[in-house]
Symmetry: C2
Subunit: 413 residues, 2 copies
């Protein structure tokens, strides 16, 4: 049996080892796109793939394809994968379970003696996290053509350094056009991931089978008021950008709570103040807001409320507001046959399943433009993610890898 | 006449030259304590003092004393001075007018042929601005003993580097105890400064004579909530530290507005969010709040309101709040004789005057513990300060220097 070929101790120690490749010490994991930690993680991961006898290809922005060549290499390959980058102060499972778990699934298939007809490709996507450039799923977004290359070349990080600077630093110098893949490039794509929500754990379910991925939208506000000495400018004379930002952040919260859908979530995750000195009135704030729902109508209601209220707040406070839509993505619907296949394989292995909606953002959202997709979710402790105490048990991971391996086998027969 | 010996072109070009010694290009000036820009500014200023034949002494934390030796060096000297450090994105006049203007006053007195009986000491104070360690007026605060040496040694910047690290880097290695001065160390102290408020300009007054300096208090909040993935945690399950901070910042504003005194000002100048990623719920916020009034009762009412409301907000949102008082200073009352002397000298020079209260924070506040003090204010454009468009005209500065020179002469006769 394939499941018996999964070496969970090896996988657990690899997860631990990778967690140590971080800008901050464990349990906090930080690997920002093309930072030293990210580059070291990539190098480490490539070694692991080579040890498993996979052949490697990297595109112009560092998306990594590790291929187990099938008996019929002319057929479109089956793909799996996820990401290894991590936001500041995150945990060691988000993305990692899909990449290292995908590698373990392939190693288990090999160990079981299986030989695939279609090639199986394990993808490590570049920058699923938006930390460097403010845009999530950069790798799959560009691969699928949702972000045109011309727009990608304009991306800048907070220091004004662009994608070309960073990919060059990482040694990726080929033409950017090689990133774009055709629809049908893969026969199917299945991503293994921690749930990042509490439902599976609460209900004692082994495997979540994803039917739909929520539609995220993201906005960036640049608020500009008037600075001045904190001791010298009287309260009625102020145009304090921080206070406008504070009101907007509270309006963002309210818009999510009153959208009419219990699933609407909205978060002000970035809030940067200038000059940021205790004795100086803040003259500028940069805010980034993330808004999601699977229900597009509710999301749009919340969005409208945020935009109307932020305009009112800024007018009242004499603050200039420039608003930029970072992304406004469509939800993705998973392939019904793949959903059924993952369910069937889980049941064969004796695992309980539940169909679910992913409210978190994944590369699968964009891979859905290229091929049929679904996702395999496993429980994680209290649903925690993007924090150092993020945790999935070895047993939960083992079950996810087993389902992934059986699914990849079926799809590559 | 002394006023005719003021070389305003020289002083203007020195102000410009010093403005260029900055971490950012003009018009934004940034010189944080013991940063490279601050060290270069100090070196440049020492050259200027030596060119004016002043003798130099530096204490263990870099307070610089440039002395014009009087005929009777056993008498307590007269002192003047201010600071050269600048918060991020500030202007080129705050502090600088008092230091370089003080130097010009001394040069004009020398050029006029005057020889003082008491020595005249020009002081450049270390870290009037709180940027590095979060505490304003560090130099004069330690000199006057308001901050004990043992507490100063515990100060840390945001990277955990202490005062001893930074003063060592700047080459100050003597015993810290040499910073402390005795009451009566100076016979009087007069500080020239831009008003940092709009009153003098609005009313067309040449010289503000300071009778009282407002009492500032400063607080630091550490808010700790729960992080998580922005897509995955539903709104009712959140403990978002940023939203608690937003409510507190608005409560701080309201406390100042409703204190019962029109002079109460309160500012949240520092607001730092962790992890600061768009797709992550903020789990921690560091806020620094500055609260001032000349009316201690109003300030205390506002403080009480801030503390009560922040506790309520944090309880309601399930946020842990730790609160630290950074400083809570007493107001300083200026010496009546010095105030009258500055007024008299201004009138002799044909300048209009107005007695006023300083709502901004100055080294004079702490020098008042060591000797009689007053301050000479000059108008600045719209009252702007701590911003790149801070401006005082050469004519306004010339008048301030003339009054300072005549005052120093009277005090050192």
């Amino acid at each position: 049996m394939i499941a018996d070929c999964i070496e969970m101790d090896r996988l657990s120690s690899e997860i631990e080892e990778l967690g140590n490749i971080s800008e901050y010490p464990l349990p906090a994991v930080t690997r920002v796109l093309f930072s030293d930690a990210d580059l070291r993680a990539r190098a480490w991961f490539k070694e692991r793939c080579l040890s498993a006898d996979l052949s490697l290809h990297e595109d112009a922005i560092g998306n990594l394809f590790a291929t187990w060549l099938g008996q019929d290499p002319d057929l479109e390959p089956v793909a799996t994968g996820s990401h290894l980058d991590a936001i500041p102060n995150a945990g060691k499972y988000d993305g990692v379970v899909g990449v290292l778990g995908g590698l373990e699934a392939i190693r288990a298939l090999k160990a079981s003696g299986y030989v695939p007809r279609r090639s199986i490709v394990l993808i490590m996507f570049t920058a699923e996290e938006p930390t460097r450039f403010g845009v999530g799923c950069l790798g799959s977004r560009m691969m699928s053509g949702v972000m045109p290359l011309a727009r990608a070349e304009l991306l800048q990080d907070e220091n004004g350094l662009g994608l070309n600077h960073w990919r060059g630093r990482a040694g990726h110098v080929s033409e950017m056009s090689d990133v774009l893949l055709d629809r049908g490039a893969f026969s199917s794509f299945v991503e293994l991931h921690i749930e990042q929500g509490p439902k599976l754990e609460e209900r004692g379910i082994d495997i979540g089978v994803v039917e739909k991925i929520a539609a995220p939208a993201a906005f960036r506000f640049h608020l500009t008021g008037a600075g001045g000495h904190a001791g010298a400018v009287l309260m009625p004379d102020r145009h304090d950008a921080l206070l406008a930002g504070a009101e907007i952040a509270l309006a963002v919260e309210k818009a999510a709570i009153t959208s009419g859908s219990a699933d609407t979530v909205a978060t002000t995750g970035v809030f940067e103040v200038k000059p940021g000195a205790i004795n100086s009135i803040p003259f500028a704030v940069k805010m980034e807001v993330d808004l999601r729902d699977t229900d597009m109508a509710a999301r749009e209601r919340a969005e409208k409320m945020i935009l109307t209220q932020s305009a009112d707040i800024c007018t009242r406070r004499g603050i200039e507001c420039s608003l930029e839509t970072i992304n406004s993505d469509e939800p993705a619907v998973c392939d019904a046959n793949l959903v059924s296949l993952v369910e069937a394989k889980s049941l064969e292995l004796g695992f309980s399943t539940q169909r679910m909606i992913s409210r978190a953002y994944h590369d699968s959202l964009f891979m859905a433009r290229l091929s049929p997709i679904t996702m395999i979710f496993i429980p994680c402790f209290k649903g925690y993610s993007h924090r150092p105490d993020e945790y999935s048990s070895p047993e939960a991971i083992r079950k996810g890898v087993a389902v992934l391996a059986e699914t990849l086998k079926s799809l590559s027969l």
